[in-house]
């Protein structure tokens, strides 16, 4: 009975198998089942393999002594330190080289992008040739080139190249003078900070004045005057002094100053030059994305070139540039892992390399390393979503 009723009420019956919902569920079950089976298969194999090699798993190795040296650290570290400290050293070194690399690559990249669009033929050509050469050669090869072919073939300590300001370059690395400000110098720093604050105040005031009276105020010049003169006067009046500790030849090596190992210099050079080529393309595309009509509209309203760029072109170009720019920053950070090949002790080299070798904890080490990069890229994409949402909000 119920059967017949159901049949009468239900729409023309498709066969059970052809119902898309049921099919969908079935497919998903199959996929889940297959994945689960695969996971179990791998887990069992791994357990068996580990057992056969007599290895255990777990994260307690983090608190045992690392027992290896790292020649470039931002925090106190010795061979008696723990593995978690080694991990931290690696992570900080990754962040250090990435941060400096990002700054250099951004400047150079913007310069390249603008140069490629220059009406000056020769400037545009040079920028194009740079970009086309650098983009089409593997970064690792470029790192090898800078490290093995350039920095490692520099003269030895005795024949070091000396540059202005006590800068020394040789096989062992790059040595810079280290500034040693005296106590009075804090006044200069305060003066500098005050100048910045004062400038911000002037800027806000100038904006209000422009809006209320229509008169413009030379904000950029004020900045220069404030930021140069205020600290300079403080410097002179307080008699503050900055001594420099110059690298000195002592025995077989230079001591004193800031010492940058060749691994660091090569990595920084390679990463910045490589990423700059990509940032240049991003910037160029961003500027080209601003319709020429915008420029014409601004010109026909009488804007001068500086105002036109500042008020009309750059704000629009930046919207196009920022998202790919952030992913270039992320790429640079990820690419810094290639340092493992030239021995700069960043995360991959210290952790995925040495630590894994010594502890044999492949799964844990790989897992944590991936987690670090995953976090970095998550942070980046959160920023990008926020930015895109904000821009989308503003435009409609």
């Amino acid at each position: 009975m119920a059967d017949i009723e159901a049949r009468q009420k239900s729409p023309p019956k498709t066969s059970f198998w052809n119902d898309p919902k049921i099919r969908g569920l079935f497919y998903q079950f199959v996929v889940m089942g297959a994945l689960a089976a695969f996971a179990i298969f791998i887990a069992l194999n791994t357990a068996a393999n580990l057992a056969r090699q007599g290895k255990t798993t777990g994260f307690e190795f983090f608190f045992s002594t690392a027992g290896f040296d790292i020649f470039f650290t931002l925090i106190p570290y010795s061979r008696a330190s723990f593995y978690w400290e080694a991990f931290l050293v690696g992570l900080l070194n990754t962040l250090l080289v990435s941060a400096i690399g990002i700054v250099i690559a951004t400047f150079l990249g913007f310069f390249l992008g603008i140069a490629r669009l220059s009406p000056n033929w020769i400037v545009a050509r040079i920028a194009t040739v740079y970009v086309e050469i650098i983009r089409n050669i593997p970064l690792l090869l470029q790192l090898f080139f800078w490290y093995f072919a350039v920095l490692k073939t520099l003269p030895g300590v005795r024949q070091s190249l000396e540059f202005a300001g006590g800068t020394i370059l040789n096989q062992r690395g790059l040595y810079l003078a280290r500034p040693l400000p005296d106590d009075n110098f804090t006044f200069v720093i305060w003066a500098f900070l005050i100048a910045i604050v004062a400038w911000l105040v002037v800027k806000a005031w100038a904006k209000r004045r422009l809006e209320s009276t229509g008169k413009r105020f030379p904000v950029a010049w004020t900045f220069l005057v404030l930021v140069v003169f205020l600290p300079a006067i403080t410097w002179l009046t307080t008699g503050a002094n900055v001594a420099f500790e110059y690298p000195e030849l002592s025995g077989f090596n230079f001591v004193g100053g800031i010492e940058l190992p060749p691994e660091f210099v090569a990595l920084l050079l390679g990463l910045s030059l490589y990423t700059a080529a990509f940032i240049g393309e991003t910037v160029r595309a961003g500027i080209l994305a601003v319709d020429h009509g915008q420029t014409e509209a601004a010109q026909s309203l009488g804007f001068r070139d500086g105002d036109r760029l500042r008020l009309v072109v750059i704000p629009q170009a930046m919207r196009v540039i920022v998202p790919p720019l952030t992913s270039q920053y992320l790429n640079l950070t990820k690419n810094s892992s290639l340092a493992a090949a030239i021995g700069y002790p960043e995360l991959v080299s210290v952790f995925l390399g040495t630590t894994l070798n010594q502890t044999g904890r492949a799964i844990e080490v790989v897992f944590i390393t991936m987690l670090v990069y995953l976090t970095l890229s998550l942070v980046t994409s959160v920023f990008m979503n926020w930015y895109n949402a904000r821009v989308a909000l503003v435009e409609r």
């Binding site: 969908g24 497919y27 998903q28 996929v31 889940m32 994945l35 791998i42 194999n45 791994t46 068996a48 393999n49 580990l50 056969r52 220059s118 009406p119 000056n120 033929w121 020769i122 400037v123 040079i126 086309e132 050469i133 983009r135 089409n136 050669i137 593997p138 970064l139 690792l140 090869l141 470029q142 090898f144 080139f145 093995f148 072919a149 350039v150 490692k152 073939t153 990820k334 690419n335 892992s337 290639l338 493992a340 090949a341 991959v348 995925l352 894994l356 492949a362 799964i363 790989v366 390393t369 991936m370 990069y373 995953l374 970095l376 890229s377 998550l378």
Partner: protein, 380 residues
């Protein structure tokens, strides 16, 4: 305002059409070009002079190093150790076999050559948009060719002597990794992209996680993972070939990037295409393979080529996990004492860079060419 008066004067009809006048020399000709593109303003003139000085400073020494003072023919490194000698091309020449074939036995290298030649025969018509039989050609390249190459190189059947993969090396291995990466990442990427577009939550989230995980981490961690963890994942006693481990890593990694490129193409298709396919009564797989995918893929050919370029450059990373690709053979030869000289390493790297550059640059030109074609195709 006396507009009425004005209008009387303005009545005008042209009696004779004016011919086109030649442009004054301020607009065309070399002088105009030099003025407008080199000296259009004082600032520009300064830039031009500075750039010219920069080139004058760089170019002559570069020329002398690469060609002028370079050593092209020599028996050993002695000629390159001379004071003031340029690039040591003789060194590259003497190691050329190693750079191309790695440790592949000399008497078997003809097999590699055949593989190269066959690849060329298959890939040229594939990239030539006007030529017919694209599907057959693609199948031959993506399915048939890798199998033939595998049989040819590893041997052990059809009377070919076996050559273990540890003996493979040089440009051969670089190209093999590139090829395998391309051949596996494209179909895998398509599947992942379709999965990510799917309405089924389980399938969608699995694909999203897979894609985003690989895209988040650097390739080198993937390669490390493949080389230390893959051996743990397989049943006890099974050993995974070193080259195979790297291939698995590279393929999964580039599949994730390919998936995002393909997804871009799927999203760019107008909704109408999906609806039209549905209206024709085609089921999911049929509408995907006959209507949606062909269009979406055509749209993203430039994007696909660009990820091939990235993949090809990335193949160099396998040298870190100890595979003798082109970069690694160069790196190893750089310490060849026979040819020891100051320029040895530089010469080696320039050679390797030139090889990579030629491949990548021609791919990028091809991608631009295809993009151009696609755009003009749309306007018509």
């Amino acid at each position: 305002m006396s507009t009425t008066n004005a209008t009387k004067e303005i009545s005008f009809v042209r009696e004779e059409m004016l011919p086109e006048m030649p442009a004054p020399s301020s607009v065309v000709g070399p002088v105009a070009w030099i003025r407008s593109s080199l000296f259009s303003s004082p600032g520009n003139s300064i830039l031009t002079i500075a750039s010219a000085l920069l080139l004058l400073w760089i170019m002559p020494p570069l020329y002398n190093f690469l060609i002028g003072n370079a050593v092209f023919i020599a028996e050993d490194g002695a000629a390159c150790r001379v004071e003031g000698a340029g690039a040591c091309w003789a060194f590259i020449w003497s190691r050329m076999d190693f750079f191309i074939y790695g440790f592949f036995p000399a008497e078997e290298q003809w097999r590699v050559n055949i593989a190269f030649a066959l690849g060329l025969v298959l890939i040229v018509p594939l990239m030539w948009p006007e030529l017919p039989f694209k599907v057959v050609n693609a199948l031959a390249f993506f399915v048939g060719y890798p199998i033939i190459v595998f049989i040819l190189l590893s041997g052990g059947m059809f009377g070919l002597t076996e050559v273990p993969t540890v003996n493979w090396g040089g440009l051969t291995v670089t190209l093999i990794i590139g090829l395998v990466g391309i051949v596996t990442s494209l179909p895998l990427g398509i599947v992942l992209a379709l999965g990510r577009q799917s309405k089924m939550p389980v399938i969608k989230s699995v694909c999203v996680m897979f894609i985003e995980l690989w895209r988040a981490v650097p390739l080198i961690t993937v390669l490390f993972m493949a080389s230390v963890m893959l051996p743990l994942f397989v049943p006890v006693g099974v050993s995974v070939d070193k080259l195979l481990r790297a291939l698995v890593g590279v393929s999964l990694f580039s599949a994730a990037y390919m998936a995002e490129v393909v997804r871009g193409g799927l999203q760019a298709l107008p909704r109408g295409q999906y609806e039209a396919a549905g209206a024709l009564g085609l089921n999911y797989w049929k509408s995907m393979s006959f209507i949606i995918l062909p269009q979406a893929l055509k749209h993203v050919i430039p994007g696909i080529v660009n990820s091939f370029i990235a993949l090809f450059k990335d193949t160099s990373l396998v040298s870190i996990v100890g595979i003798f690709d082109l970069l690694n053979t160069v790196q190893a030869s750089n310490s060849d004492l026979n040819w020891a000289s100051e320029q040895q390493a530089v010469t080696g790297y320039i050679f390797a860079a030139a090889v990579f550059w030629v491949f990548c640059f021609s791919m990028s030109r091809y991608s631009i060419y295809m993009e151009h074609r696609l755009h003009t195709g749309h306007k018509r």
